[in-house]
Structures are given as C-alpha cells and as structure tokens.
Amino acid sequence: MNETYPLWVHLFRVVAVFLLFLLTTAMLIWAERRLVALMQSRKGPNRVGPFGMLQTLVDGVKMFFKEDVTPSMVDKVLYGIAPLVGVVVGFLSIAIIPFGGEVTMFGETFVLQAADLNVGVLWFLAMGSLHVYSVVLAGWASQSPYPLLGGVRSSAQLISYEIAQGLAVASVFIYAGSLRVSDIVGIQAQGPGLIAGVPNWFVLPLFPAFVVFLVGMVAEAGRPPFDLAEAEGELVGGFHTEYSGMRFGMFMLAEFMNVVTMSAIMVTLFFGGPAGPVFGPDWFSWILPILYFMAKMAFFIVFFVLLRAALPRIRYDRLMALGWKVLIPVGLVWVLVTAAMVLVNEQATSRSRVLIFGGGVALALLLFLVAPLFSRSTGSAVTEPRDTEEVTA
C-alpha cells in the first residue's frame, strides 16, 4: 500500500476481483450441480446455455422475481440486515486475495489484488467472525424454532472452528513472518523449499496446520458434512427457514461465496497462491498466474463438492468434539512448533533445520495418535436423563 496508484487502477482491481469472484461463484454452483449429478447417475442442469452453464443466472433471476414473504412475527430490522451481512462480508473477505501476478497496464504496474492490507490475514479472520452475525441474526430475527436452533448451532460451530482456523493461520504468518498476504505469497513463490525441486508451498512445512485449516474451512463454510446450521433433514432449512425470494437467494449466494473464499484463502496460504512456472510473452505471463490460481482453487472447490456428495451429516456434538478436542489442540501445538522452528531457523545450519523439521513432524504424529484418545471419552450418550419420575405421569 506504499505505492500510490491512480484511481482507475483501484477501480479496475476492485471490479476485476468482484467480477471474477461472482463468476467463480456462479460456476461453482453449476459445477456442483453437475458433479453431484454425475455421482448420482443424473444429468444435472443441461438446458440453459452450453451444458446448462447459465442455469445459475436464470435461477438468480427467478430468485429476484419471487415474492419475498416477511413473516409477521419477525424482528423486521434484523431480519432484513442478516442476509445483507452475509453477502457483504463474503465480498469483503475476498478483497485480500491476490488472483494473479504483476501486470502492467497503461504504464502502471500493479498486482491483481483488490487490497494488500498490512493485516491481510487478520482481515480474513475478522470477516469470518462477522459472517457469524449473518447466521445468528437470521436465526434470532426469524422468531421461529428451527431458525433459532440453526442459529444457535451455527454460532457455536463457527466460533469454535474459527479458533481452530485462526491457529492454523497463525502458524502460517509466524512461519512467513508477515501478515501481509503479498508477503506470504511472495515467500512461497521464491526461495529454496524444504525438498529440492519442490515448490516452497507452506503445505509442506506446515502440514498439520493445513489439515486443521482443511477441516476448519469446511465447517466455517457450513458445507456438508458440517452443514448443521441448515441441516435440511433435521431443521428444514435451519437459519434461513423463514426466508424466501431474494433474501433467501442472498444466503445461498453467501454460502457459495464462502466456499470460493475458503478455497482461495487455502490456495493463498498453503499452495503459493498464483505461483507457478511463468514463461512466454508478456500477456501470457499475466494470464498464467491467474490460471494457476484458478486451477488450484478449482481443486478445493471440487473437494467441497465431493464431500457433499459422499458423506452423511455429522452430529452436532461430534462436530464440537472434533473442533475442541482434536483440531484446536493440534493447531495450538503446531503454532508452538512453528514458532520454535522459526526461532531456531534464524541461526541454524541446514542440517539442524532438517532435524528440527523432523522433530516437529514426529511431535505432530504423536499428537495425532494421542488426540483420538481424548475425543472418544464420552460415547454417544448426550446427557443424563432428566428425573424420570415426572415424565412417566
């Protein structure tokens, strides 16, 4: 942010990121429907546009024109704000993601990124926290049991998994030594990796953090098997049961935007962002990083989709147990290990680097072996039954 660009550069970047993000989201919805259909021996949307790619668009139009019913009991202000919060936060959190490398246009050289904040990673976490409000407010404002349960579930779920995710992210910026996303991407793009010939992506040195983030991002995005906030089989629609029309559409959009954002953050933090071999003429070397980024992101988006198609929904208490008893301890220990790694690394020789890394991995493995012992402690019984005398009457 030190350099000053003319206004059009800022505008261009914002619009480019916005459009790219929106398009990716639209494509994600289409891809999800096609992929899930493929796994279920169905065809999926195939009428509008080539391979039904424009289905999302017409669905969006439909949403706009549908009647927006506001139930009479709701808290009208909060009821209206909740979906907006979801969408706005979704758009804001993508702002810190660098989609491509440096490009030069009309004499200005800049990075394809809406805003390179010096607190970049924290911005993402902050937006994640704000997203909770969208769900909780929707659940509360609806004044109806299912949304309330959905809201309560998701507030607990999102807050606990935010901690796990935050710890995973913490080990990334400790390792990178910077909160600025461009620095994190830059370090991954250059410099010798742990293993010769393999890119220095943080997924390798920070593998446990990667695993924590991977599970955390599915829970944070509220996607199956962790889609307890909406859990259609249990809570009908969960927090958005009482919503209809475009307001419901905004929740849906927010959910899918979350998937894109999470995949983008994942790629940025652990897979080098737009990094990759660049060659060819100027215009080609601008396009390539964007393609790399999109390809990496697509990988995680497909991961989300496959999870949805393959797995049943986990139960609420098991989800919390997984978060608090496995992910958070693993994340916490790995933050310490990373910090130790970085401290020693500042003076150590390459041989001791290997030793320290090996020690870290050994510690992490040990942790993975020990953690299940803690998570299994309370079978599946939920609570002790209430005094049974009064129930029998």
């Binding site: 899930v36 279920q40 199956p224 249990e234 049943p312 929904r313």
Partner: protein, 431 residues
C-alpha cells in the same frame, strides 16, 4: 418407574397417549415446544412429532397421526371382496403386495379355498421383490435424512428396476390390486422368470455398492450406533415387530413361525443383531434383502405350471386374456362362450363382476411378515358380498409408539435417525 430402555423384563413401560387439543404453551421453563411436521423433510410424509426441546435435547416426543387418514378400512365395507384388494393395496403404499396378499389370504381362509400352487409361488416372488423395494426406499430416504444425498438416488434407482418388473406383470408400478382372492388376476408373462433373474443378477452388485458407501463410513456408523436403542424386552412390550424386533435379537419372523403361501418350502435365515440400535436395524435390513433374493431364487427354481386362479367359477375373476397381458383384449373363446353359447355363463359373469361373490360368515385374523413387521388383517364377514369389517394391524402404526421411548433425552439429530430407522409409512399408519 422408568421409561428408559432396559433389558430388564420386570420394568413397566408407559406410553403417553391421549387426545389433546392444544399444544402446551410454546415456551416452558427451560424447554420449547417444536412441531416437527406434518410438513417436514424427514417425517416420512405427514407424521407430526410434537417435541419438547431443551436446547438440542429432546425431552419428550408425542407422535401425532391422522394427517393421511384415507378411510380405507371403512370404505372397504362398501365394496365387494374383490374391490377390497384395490383399496387395501393403497394403505402401506411401499408394500402393496403384502397388503393384497394378507387381505386375500384372509378372504381365502373365510372361503376355505386352496389357491393353486403357481399363484402361491408367484405371490412369494413378488412379495420378496417388494420387500427389497421397500427396504431400498428405507435406505434411500434414511440416507437422505442423515445427509447422504447419494444414497437417496441410488436406492430409488434400483427400486425403479423392481417396479419395472411389477409394471411389466401387473400394469402398475404401485397399488397393483393384482393379487385377488383365489389367486392372481392374470398369469405372469413368458419373460417373467428371465426378468427376475436379470434383477437377481443386478441387485447383489448394487448392494455391495451401498455397503461400500455406508457400512464402514465413520459418520454413518456414528450417527446410527447406540442411537434409538430398543431392547428386546421393550420391543416386545411395545408390540414392535419386524426388523426392529430382530435387530434387538429376537428372531421373530412370521414366515418361519406361521408359514403362509408355502414359505415352509424355502430355505432362508432370519437375520438378527443384538444391539437393538439403529445400526443393527440397518444391518438387519441389508441382510433381509439378501435373504429375499435367496427365497426368490428358490421360488423361481420350483415355479410350477398350472392355473393361477382357483377353478371355482363362482369365485374366479373372469379375466381370461389373449391379446396382451396388460388387460387389453379379452380371450375371443371366452367372449364367444358367454355371449353366444351359454346364457348361464353370461349371468355368472355379470353377477360376479357387479355383485361379487359372497363369503361365509366368520371372522379371521391373518398376519404376514411385511417389510415393516407383522401386517395383520382381521376380516369379519356376515355372509354377504361385502366385508362386514376389516381391521388392519399395521406394523408402522404399532412401531411408532416406541418413538418416545427411543428418542427421549437424545439429540434432535438422533430423533431423525430414529424415525428413519423405524421406517414408518404414514399411509399404513393412518389407513
């Protein structure tokens, strides 16, 4: 006195049951009352569960039924005995052949007639295919309710193959009214055996797919294991039958205990499990599908020739076909006989079709082992051409009363798994 499940036979089980007009105040001291259903994705149609929730914990469940009341039992009193099959097949719409067979067995018992062996064997084949189809629906809907959206499609996909077989024989995918008092409406088509064998080749492979998908899936196991435990004692006291009872370790199966339709000739096992939880029911139903295939294979081997309807012209529905098995095209020889040769035959045809046959006065109860448990028909005749009273003991109805016992003090998610493992069909419950 406790309402929790226990193996101890000495305990009493209380079933809360009463008419009530208002749902208790929506907000209790620390509980809220939630109406789950009658419109809810996981209540198998229109079951309404009034839940008393303390946070996520279900403190009390009151199943409310009657939203699919069709008055079939009453209506059947105004129809002839043959028309009765058309009604009863619509009760438990996932197991139409069981309804038809049980009803027809009851009528045949009152008539004191012996149905030809070919008809009996075909009934067995169709019923066992019906069991597989019904269990497939259970697997599909149960999977979807627990979030396994793939299972939903797979289950219905294979069920469709079975329904294709039904359609090819009876003309209808469901609600066939094809099994009639005295036998079957028509004989099966020439390619019936071939179609059955094709299905028998297809299904085991598909079942392995389901097992690959779910059996060792940790989430699936976690959602079902120790959920909805119903001990053998509680199950017996609640009158629960079928896979639920067998999952609790009681090898109760009417096909073994009181064989009908010649079940004593087939070799098959009654699968049981000991734990009595939802996962045990899952395993029991999977194995039942395998055993059904085993029975079908044996039945196809011994499928005898001969008529599929009793010879008695006063009972046998005049449905001789010659042009096609789909009900189009009566046999010209038969038409010639009633239209040109014998006035008495025409009168008999007319009387049989419009008035139906009379059934000697009496009262019988005939149970069969439906996919959901003991499906019993208590039929009373006063000697006329219409039933005096039909009462159906529907397994879904009886099994539902164990809902509260199984789901008290469990989480809402568990309640969903429990209702899914009960596999209630509301058409059968409300009748």
């Amino acid at each position: 006195m406790s309402t929790t499940a226990s193996d101890d036979f000495g305990q009493d089980v209380f079933v809360d049951g009463a008419d009530w007009e208002v749902v208790e105040d929506a907000v209790g001291e620390s509980t809220i009352t939630v109406n789950m259903g009658p419109q809810h994705p996981s209540t198998h149609g229109v079951l309404r569960l009034v839940l008393e929730l303390e946070g996520e914990i279900v403190r009390n469940v009151k199943p409310v039924i009657g939203y699919l009341h069709t008055g079939i039992e009453k209506n059947a009193e105004y129809r002839t005995w043959v028309q009765g099959t058309t009604f009863v097949t619509r009760m438990d719409y996932l197991s139409p052949f069981y309804n038809e067979t049980a009803f027809c067995l009851a009528v045949e018992k009152l008539l004191d007639i012996e149905v030809p062996e070919r008809a009996q064997t075909i009934r067995v084949i169709l019923m066992e295919f019906n069991r597989i189809a019904s269990h497939l629906v259970w697997l599909a809907t149960g999977g979807m309710e627990l979030g396994a959206i793939g299972m939903m499609i797979y289950g219905f996909r294979e069920r469709e193959h079975i329904l294709d077989l039904f359609e090819s024989q009876t003309g209808l995918r469901m609600n066939h009214a094809w099994i009639r008092p005295g036998g079957l409406a028509n004989d099966v088509t020439d390619d019936f055996v071939q179609r059955c064998e094709h299905l028998l080749g297809l299904l085991p492979e598909k079942m392995r797919e389901y097992e690959d998908l779910l059996l060792d899936n940790p989430i699936w196991r976690e959602r079902l294991t120790d959920v909805g435990v119903l001990s053998a004692g509680d199950a017996v006291r609640m009158g629960v039958t079928g896979p639920l009872l067998r999952a609790a370790g009681v090898p109760a199966d009417l096909r073994k205990a009181q064989p009908y339709c010649g079940y004593e000739r087939y070799e098959f096992d009654v699968p049981t499990q000991d734990s009595g939880d939802s996962f045990a029911r899952f395993l029991v139903r999977l194995e039942e599908m395998r055993q059904s295939m085993r029975i079908i294979r044996q039945a196809l081997d011994i499928l005898p020739g001969g008529p599929v309807m009793v010879a008695d012209k006063h009972i046998a529905w005049p449905a001789q076909q010659s042009l096609g098995p789909d009900g189009i095209g009566n046999d010209p020889a038969y038409i010639r006989h009633i239209m040109g040769e014998s006035m008495e035959a025409l009168i008999n045809h007319f009387k049989l079709v419009t008035q139906g046959f009379t059934v000697p006065a009496g009262q019988v109860y005939v149970p069969v082992e439906s996919p959901r448990g003991e499906l019993g028909y208590a039929v009373t005749s006063n000697g006329t051409n219409k039933p005096y009273r039909i009462h159906v003991r529907d397994p879904s109805f009886v099994n539902l009363q164990a809902t509260n016992l199984m789901s008290k003090d469990r989480m809402v998610s568990d309640l969903i798994a429990i209702v899914a493992s009960l596999d209630p069909v509301m058409g059968g419950v409300d009748r």
